[in-house]
């Protein structure tokens, strides 16, 4: 896989000396290779895998650890991508978890009332997510109110709505229905599917390719499509984008609709992993949604995204979760380490940039 490190190219002549490049570009462009945050993530992840593996051999157990780990990585990769879509604009989506919850409700409702097949229900859920995200985008674009406030309020509103809907439709907090194929998607790995003598790798769950496909699609959109480039332009400088003839309002709606769609996909996969469409889907999405892209080098300020970094960030986070879990830490204790890792990673990132700049300026 190629590095999907996507930035709006700064308009400068090609003969610009490397020194200036190092001072103006963001990390990863024009900086020495060791200043690339993605490389750091790979090293840290590999080191942690080695440590956890030597402390607890069960860490390499396929059924116990690897398969659930990859399934979780897929879910939280998509959650991170949902946040990345709006971060490209310099916006935030605090309702990412609740968008997943409301979409999961719609999907569950479609299975119960319309008895649709598994993937039709998924598409209905994605459409619901796109609609809710688009609504958030529309409010932000029309009123110019900060995305933080709008999505925070939306999160509040959806939090109430989801529970009320589950109460009135199911009388409880989850749908009992399980459409055909859901159990296979949940339990099977590629090892269960054989073509003649050759079977797929039994370490990879069926849900993993969905995460990879989502990452490829988002990477493609931001790197090669007009929409993606215009999103990054808008995030870089809204006014400049407007003067270049980009309908920034429409792009804001598009980014939030994409975010809602991806949140819905993450909610669907989590529901499949859990085995039920329930009201608590998406409750823990907020922190990981920022962790993965931010660790991967995506800026909060907008204008630059890194899909590969998001994949690595999501992997690192889930490796920490699974590893410390195997070592017998309680979920709440895990949080201390996750927070410390986040601060350390970002501080080191900052340190790397400062060092690299200094080296670039005074060779």
């Amino acid at each position: 896989m190629t590095a999907r490190d996507v930035t709006v190219p700064a308009s400068k002549p090609p003969e610009t000396p490397e020194v200036d490049e190092a001072r103006t570009a963001r990390p990863g462009r024009g900086l020495p290779f060791w200043a690339n945050p993605r490389l750091g993530l790979v090293v840290v992840t590999a080191a942690l895998v080695a440590i956890f593996g030597s402390l607890r051999p069960a860490f390499f157990n396929e059924r116990l650890t690897i398969v659930p780990l990859l399934a979780d990585v897929s879910v939280f990769l998509i959650v991170g991508l949902a946040q990345l879509c709006v971060l490209s604009l310099g916006h935030m989506n605090l309702a990412v978890g609740r968008m997943a919850a409301i979409s999961a409700f719609v999907t569950g409702w479609a299975y119960t009332s319309l008895s649709v097949p598994l993937y039709v229900g998924m598409v209905i859920g994605l459409l619901a997510g796109a609609a809710v995200g688009g609504l958030a985008g529309l409010i932000i674009a029309r009123t110019g109110v900060n995305s933080f406030v709008v999505t925070l309020a939306l999160d509040f509103a959806l939090l109430g709505l989801v529970t009320l809907l589950y109460n009135s439709v199911t009388g409880g907090v989850s749908f009992a229905v399980r459409p055909d194929g859901m159990d296979q998607l949940r339990n099977d790995t590629f090892g269960d599917y054989c073509a003649g003598d050759w079977c797929g790798p039994s370490a990879i769950p069926l849900v993993a390719p969905l995460g990879l496909i989502a990452a490829l699609v988002v990477g493609y959109v931001f790197r090669y499509t007009r929409l993606g480039r215009e999103l990054l332009m808008t995030g870089s400088s809204e006014r400049a984008a407007q003067y270049s003839g980009i309908p920034t309002g429409g792009r804001v709606v598009a980014a939030h609709a994409m975010s809602g769609t991806l949140a819905a996909l993450a909610g669907f996969l989590l529901a499949v992993n859990n085995g039920a469409f329930s009201a608590n889907i998406g409750e823990g999405f907020l922190l990981p949604s920022f962790l993965a892209p931010v660790l991967g080098g995506t800026l909060l300020a907008g204008g630059a995204v890194s899909v590969l970094g998001t994949i690595l960030g999501a992997t690192l986070t889930q490796v920490i979760y699974k590893g410390l879990n195997l070592l017998g830490f309680v979920l709440d204790e895990l949080k201390i380490y996750l927070g410390v890792v986040l601060i350390l990673a970002l501080s080191l990132d900052r340190l790397r940039v400062v060092l690299a700049e200094r080296r670039g300026v005074r060779p």
Binding site: M92, I139, T143, G144, V145, N146, F148, V149, V150, L152, A153, L154, D155, F156, A157, L158, L159, G160, L161, T163, L164, N167, L287, F290, V294, L300, A301, V330, D332, E333, L334, K335, I336, Y337, L338, G339, V340, L342, I343, L346, S347, R350
Partner: protein
Amino acid sequence: MSTVLPPADPTGAPPALRGETARRFYRTSEFSLAVISVVGFCVLAVATDFNLLSGGTLGAFFRFLAVPIVIGLAQMVVLGVGQMNLSVGALTGYCAMTAASLMVEHQVPAVLAVAVAVGLGAFVGAVNGVLVVVTRINGFIVTLATMTILEGLRYGVAGSGTLQGYSPGLQRLGGASLLGVPVIFLAALGVAGLVAFYFRRTVSGRSLLASGGNPFAARLSGISNDRSLVVAHTLSGLLVGVASVLVVAGSGSVNTSIGDDLLLPSFAAPIIGGVALTGGAVSVVGTVLAAFIIRMVDVTQAQFDIDRRWVDLVVGVVVLGAVLIGRVREAVAARMRGGAS
């Protein structure tokens, strides 16, 4: 009243005649909030057959208003410099658990435990501020990280257990009333008064707003933006520490879940109260009134036995409505000014 630095005044008008000032007061969001509060309270009182005005209910109404006010102010202080503090909820829980644990498990006197809680809050706030300044990482991410860490630490104080049976004196103070008004509510109002004084009358408070309104201009005027950031985060942590003391005093027991439901209201109160997220402007009165309105929604739910979840839905819609109305009012005001000139 809203505290805005003169240059940030959107109308750009010079401080004018008294009539003009009065007319401008009617247009402030504080005035609308005050009207909504009074009308809402009267309607609620009538709708509950004046049950709301009976001693016990009214006392409870104000007792549970104290913590949201102080938490809203804690968020407002950092919003004033254009930052956010996501760790308010987790920090409240951590300070409350620490104070309770000191009293229950280590027999520390209540006064000392209260001081430790407030000091701990200020210390964590200062750490937030220093991290923001030293690493230059976005304050949102820093406090997101410290929130996560604090959630873990909060759990570490007493596991999943409940701490109770601490200092009867403190609990008596928490349950006490002065002329029918709960003492902890008066304490919250006192804190609000101090915060208002700080932003209105002290050099430190003014330079904090200057940094929030326009960091570049502030630096040229000789104000250290870094210091403003650290001061704002420390003050926010200090207020959270005070809120945690109110939590401990106001309830007979504390457990790990304390503070989980405080993060969203902490933003709701200042935002409904008209505080801008971009910094440079704060409104103590607006924040207090907004907390009052949110509390009214809460009480309505309890009085009419409505599903708890309706409150979240309504508060969400109210926040959205408040920002939308603010925009509409700005647009109308702009059009009126345009027509007059």
